[in-house]
Structure formats: C-alpha cells, structure tokens
Symmetry: C2
C-alpha cells in the first residue's frame, strides 16, 4: 500500500503535468486499465491510452490549478479551478489507486453556475 | 485537534440526522458561526440557526445517502446521493472543523446532468 502523502503527490503531478501538456509524465501517473467516469453525462473512458488522448484532444486553451486536496489511504479528492478562455469553473475529482500507487479510477464532476431558487433570500446572501 | 475518525463520524451524523429530520442532533454537529457556501449560485448562509432553518425549510421530500467519504486531519469530503421525488442527483461537500471537532464550514457542489459535447464518441462509451 502506497503512503497517503505519495498518493497526494501523484494527484498533484497529474494536474501539473496536464497543465504543462507533458503527456508522457501525465501517463506515468496512470494505471494501464484506468477508468475515467463522468456521472453527469454518463460517459466512461477505459484505458490509459484513450484517457491520455481524451486530454490531448480536449479543445480550448484550458488551464487548471488545485484549490484543495483531501487524501486518506487509497483515496484522494481534488477540487480544482479550471479556466477555458473567459469561462471559469470548478471540478471535483475522486481518485483511487492500485496497490503501487498508480491512479486506477477517476470520477469527475463539473458543477455549473445556476440562479438560486426563490424563497431563501431571508437566509442567504450573494457574494 | 480532533481525530480524523471523529471528524468522519461527525459528517456521517450530519447526513444521518438531516435525513432523519432530527434537527437538534443535526445542530449539535455545527459550530455556532458555521458558514455554508454554494459556489454555483454564489450564496452564503452564515450561522448555525440560519443554516438549520435553511435545511428545515428546504422544499420537497428529499432523501440523502452517503456514497463516499474521504477524511484527513481537519478536512472531510462527502459525495452523497440525493433524491427529491423522482429526481436524483449527487452532491459533493467539503467540510472543515473547529479545534474541538464541530463543523465550521461547508462548501457544497450540486452538479447537474448534461449532454456530452460532440467529438469524443471515439473515446467514450455511455452507461
């Protein structure tokens, strides 16, 4: 079992190498049979080669930075800030690992802005 | 500093007491000056009383269950499944704590389903 601090470093390297478009180093963080899941679109991408290709082909001049990482044995969660041109978003990603510390699953969520429903203005403030 | 296993139990109790509408026990998981943030609507709710009221007043016959918790010293992340009538969603919540283990901040994300953009059907499968 790989130490939690190493899993955290692997996720930091995952995002840093994606941001740098260093695809060989990016691929080195991944298990060959990694599975990437997007519950919002119900899409799955299976296998390291396809997953790296998905990132390589992802359109736009996107930039990523980590807002928060939370790690425990076998699990890391990242909350990142993503900018594509003028559009800014957050993404939350749940990572799991092989016994030797390679990423073997990633489940990504991309929440979008929306208008608050009426009826709670007496409790909330906008920022 | 409260042990990570206790922080995890506090978040389990937070969701279980919300699901059970046990508002006194729910309030006991919270610091008096808890801040609840919804980045998607840019809303903030400040203070335990207002936050409990927000939950009490939240419309619909909603039900919550934990899918995954990840905890480290001072931080817990939950991924929950929420059902309101026939609608089903996930929510991801980042918790922080006071030194004595009460929740002092919650940042919630509610990602919604969307259609996958064209151009990646050669890499992904739908499920």
């Amino acid at each position: 079992m790989t130490a939690t601090t190493d899993l955290r470093k692997t996720v930091e390297r995952f995002w840093a190498t994606a941001e740098a478009r260093h695809w060989d180093a990016f691929a080195e963080t991944l298990a060959e049979d990694v599975v990437y899941t997007l519950p919002q679109t119900r899409e799955k991408i299976s296998g390291r080669d396809r997953f790296v290709q998905f990132y390589k082909e992802y359109p736009g001049d996107w930039h990523l930075r980590i807002e928060r990482l939370v790690a425990e044995p076998g699990h890391v969660v990242s909350w990142i800030h993503a900018a594509v041109g003028l559009e800014e978003m957050y993404a939350i990603s749940f990572f799991t690992f092989t016994g030797d510390g390679l990423i073997n699953s990633i489940t990504d969520f991309w929440p979008e802005p929306y208008e608050p429903p009426a009826g709670r203005e007496h409790l909330s403030e906008r920022y």
